[in-house]
């Protein structure tokens, strides 16, 4: 087939360009679950301890929403659950890898240069897909081998490895389609990320209420859900693998079909013309920042509100879990009745919302960095806009944006939950307050991102590591029985569990103070330093 001519050469080119990146993500993603298995084995060495952990997980909706369902009280099943995020991350890495070697090259004009040599029309997409799918396979094989090496059952390990491969393949295929749709790589990544986000949220919503919440079917709408429903280490369901295979075949065929119908450099969606003059309001750095950040703000707000509504709709049914265990019921009654369980469920979900909002906060704040590195800060700073004024225009979104998104989540959750239990007037303010108390902890991460941007711009991405560490401490830390001072490092550990617990102002004021100091330090540092340029 001449349309595939040159694929082999392109594969070599991709391997050369990604000679560090590709092995890095494959190795990191392979080591994470193996490391997790070792850790769990250390802390929960007996079957009784594993059963206890299993009980804790299944009764903590926040954990189920974040990581997915757990299918058994064995080391393998709990490891597969604990490393559940690997499925999302491998999807992300695979998708970005495909877009990077197709649309990004095309947008940059490198594809054109290649197209003039003996390279077939389908070769770049085929090469990008082959490399990515092969990397996923290597990852799966490493995982399965590693797990067997740790003494876990072979069948389960193969199923586990394959579930990771399936997640990677499905989103590589999603990336292949997204890369055909738009002219810009950024927009293609946006489509891919949006798809991944929806898949994650559907799965989270479906899994959050445990196995009999009535919304479990939502997980079956999500490719990530499929990968988990193969149930590695817990009576593997091999037939489920038919779903990812079918999806990959459909999406990859669609991508090649779309490719055949469009011009090099063009997207399936035609770019629209913009206005010839700017709207009267586009006359300040804040107006520009709003133009650049509004889509993300609306997407995060809508996403969190949707999650809130889903959690609100199942919160009341959580109390059914208590009916199955009379011992749990006794404890609950002493604590204040069945409502405690729903409240704990709602406040647990708030932590997840807060972590998501913190991700958005960092993204919005670090827009400063990408504007600077992309040399789009320079033209603005060469006008009569001051540095602080410019930095503040984006920081504003890092500070207010997450508050808006969290409030939307709280209101949606409170409204739906109120409607279910028939007390909107009572529940709406309680639940919304639960979302709002998270804001100070989120702002600490906005402040950290700002401080790094202003003082140590090269280290700005460390903000993401801080978020990952916080998430680990607040979600997994208690399970691993980490010491208190370690847990206290995460700003989210200091937030009262609302609704349920009393709100004390002191920790919230401290967090706000820390956030303010960090942000001001960042602004002060930015006033003093050189603006980076690559030229």
């Amino acid at each position: 087939m001449t349309s595939l001519a040159g694929t082999r050469g392109l594969i070599r080119l991709i391997l050369r360009r990604d000679r560090f990146l590709l092995p890095l993500w494959v190795l990191v993603l392979a080591l994470l679950p193996i490391q997790t298995a070792v850790g769990i084995d250390q802390f929960y060495s007996t079957p009784a301890a594993l059963r206890e952990l299993y009980g804790t997980i299944t009764s903590t909706p926040g954990l189920l929403a974040m990581l997915g369902p757990v299918f058994g009280a064995t080391l393998g099943a709990i490891t597969a659950w604990r490393a559940g995020l690997v499925l999302t991350v491998v999807g992300l890495a695979s998708m970005l890898s495909v877009i990077r070697h197709t649309r990004t090259d095309e947008e940059a004009g490198r594809r054109e240069l290649l197209g003039s040599t003996v390279v077939g029309r389908n070769a770049p997409l085929a090469a990008a897909l082959l490399v990515t799918l092969a990397a996923d396979l290597v990852l799966g094989a490493l995982l399965a081998a590693g797990m067997v090496g740790l003494g876990l059952p072979g069948t389960g390990s193969v199923a586990y490895g394959l579930s990771v491969v399936a997640a990677g393949w499905m989103f590589a295929a999603v990336g292949a389609v997204a890369a055909q749709l738009t002219e810009g790589a950024g927009a293609a990544r946006g489509i891919g990320l949006g798809t991944l986000g929806v898949a994650y949220m559907l799965r989270a919503a479906g899994d959050t209420g445990g196995s009999d919440s009535g919304v479990g079917w939502l997980s079956w709408l999500s490719p990530i859900g499929w990968a988990q429903q193969t149930r590695a280490y817990a009576d593997e369901r091999w037939w489920v693998f038919a779903l990812p295979v079918a999806l990959v075949v459909v999406l990859v065929s669609a991508a090649f079909a779309l490719l055949a119908r469009r011009d090099v450099g063009a997207g399936v969606m035609a770019p629209r013309l913009g206005p010839a003059t700017a709207a009267p309001g586009l006359r300040s750095p804040v107006a520009l920042a709003w133009r650049l950040q509004r889509t993300a703000l609306l997407a995060w707000t809508a996403g969190l509100a949707l999650m809130g509504a889903l959690i609100g709709s199942v919160a009341d049914s959580v109390k059914n879990m208590a009916n199955e265990s009379s011992q749990l019921k006794d404890v609950l009654e002493r604590l204040g009745g069945e409502k405690v369980l729903s409240d704990a469920y709602i406040s647990g979900a708030m932590v997840i919302f807060a972590l998501a909002a913190a991700g958005y906060a960092i993204q919005a704040t670090l827009r400063l960095r990408s504007e600077e590195e992309g040399q789009r800060a320079e033209p603005v700073l060469a006008t009569s806009v001051g540095r602080v004024q410019w930095a503040f225009s984006h920081l504003l979104f890092g500070l207010l944006g997450p508050a808006v998104a969290l409030l939307a989540a709280g209101l949606a959750e409170g409204l739906v939950y109120g409607l279910v239990v028939g007390d909107v007037g009572g529940e709406l303010p309680r639940v919304a307050a639960g979302a709002l108390v998270q804001v100070p902890a989120v702002l600490v991460l906005s402040g950290l991102a700002m401080a790094l941007f202003g003082l140590l711009p090269r280290l700005a991405p460390v903000s993401w590591a801080a978020l990952a560490a916080s998430a680990f401490l607040v979600l997994i830390g208690p399970l691993l029985r980490l010491s208190h001072w370690l847990l206290d490092l995460a700003p989210f550990s200091h937030i009262p569990k609302v609704p349920g617990a009393d709100v004390s102002a002191v920790p919230l004021a401290w967090l706000l103070g820390i956030a303010a100091v960090l942000a001001v330090a960042g602004l002060a540092g930015f006033r003093r330093r050189d603006i980076v340029s690559t030229a």
């Binding site: 913009g274 206005p275 001051g386």
Partner: protein, 310 residues
């Protein structure tokens, strides 16, 4: 208004171990188009970024329109416009939006001039910035700068992506700017453009000024090539000051001579008797190439190095 728009002396900027600027001096008079030349990596862009207050100088002094480019950045920026060499725009904004936004952030823009420039540069302002070619992105930045009512234009290789027709248009527009009394610092590699527009030029290399003056002055500093057939074999030519690359083949002579020493050489040739004579005036290319290619000074200042190599 001050008589010097830009006054830079002893400017030093280090990036880690490399000294991007190493004691740079630069003076630009108000109301002139000043050519700013030098090989890639000589420090032209770094100088402009310091003048814009984007970078902080490690040593030396810089004055811009009578103010301090770092401390008074925002006030000074109302009075100047900048066109970067590599224009990157916000992909989701249309060209027209970018022009208006930058103009407004600078403190206002003349809508009539904007329309006229759009026409002259043949730019469709409705297209999204992501779909513009390099040349069109350059035009967006140029129009935003030229339609603003400012005293000083800082242009960093502004025509690098323009086609020859647009480049000619650019020259026309800049000449008009000059008539309006604006000052322009024009960093460029295009010698024809510099020759057409600039009264004075400064050449920098390795972070230092190596030559500065009017084009006539600089021409004067360079060499003229002479080929002659004489009545008899000449002698004593080699001893004359300012003679280079002397080749004597019987009665035929090829030599190069520093322009200011031309008189003495001609007198000597006439004394021998001249049959034929061709002389080639120095081209701007030769002038620049000499400065671009010259050896890195081993020590001391570049100016003296220049004297010695002559």
């Amino acid at each position: 208004m001050t008589a010097t728009a830009i006054a830079v002396s002893g400017l030093v900027k280090k990036f880690g171990p490399t000294r991007a600027l190493d004691g740079l001096d630069l003076t630009v008079n108000t109301g002139e188009v000043h050519g700013f030349l030098g090989p890639n990596g000589a420090g032209k862009t770094t100088t402009i970024r310091i003048l814009l207050g984007l970078l902080r100088a490690d040593a030396g002094e810089a004055r811009l329109l009578g103010g301090d480019p770092w401390a008074d950045a925002t006030e000074l920026h109302r009075r100047l416009a900048y066109v970067p060499g590599d224009v990157t725009l916000w992909p989701s904004l249309s060209g027209g939006e970018v022009i208006d936004l930058l103009g407004r952030l600078r403190g206002g823009l003349d809508p009539k001039r904007r329309a006229e420039l759009l026409e002259r540069f043949d730019l469709d302002p409705r297209k999204k910035a992501r779909t513009y070619s390099k040349g069109n992105r350059q035009k967006v930045a140029l129009i935003a700068a030229l339609a603003s009512d400012v005293e000083l234009l800082l242009l960093d290789e502004p025509t690098a992506g323009l086609d020859p027709l647009m480049e000619a248009g650019f020259r026309e527009v800049i000449s008009e700017e000059l008539d309006n009394g604006r000052t322009v610092l024009l960093s460029s590699h295009i010698l024809a453009e510099v020759e057409a527009l600039c009264e004075r030029v400064s050449i920098i290399r390795a972070g230092r000024m190596v030559e500065s003056g009017t084009l006539a002055e600089l021409r004067h500093l360079t060499r003229t090539s002479i080929s002659a057939e004489l009545a008899a074999p000449p002698n004593g030519l080699a001893e004359l000051a300012g003679v280079h690359n002397l080749q004597i083949d019987g009665t035929r002579v090829h030599l190069q001579v520093d322009s200011e020493k031309l008189d003495g050489v001609l007198r000597r040739l006439v004394a021998v008797g001249v049959r034929t004579l061709t002389s080639q005036p120095p081209t701007l290319e030769e002038l620049f190439l000499r400065h671009y290619q010259a050896e890195q000074p081993a020590g001391g200042d570049g100016q003296r190095q220049q004297e010695v190599s002559r």
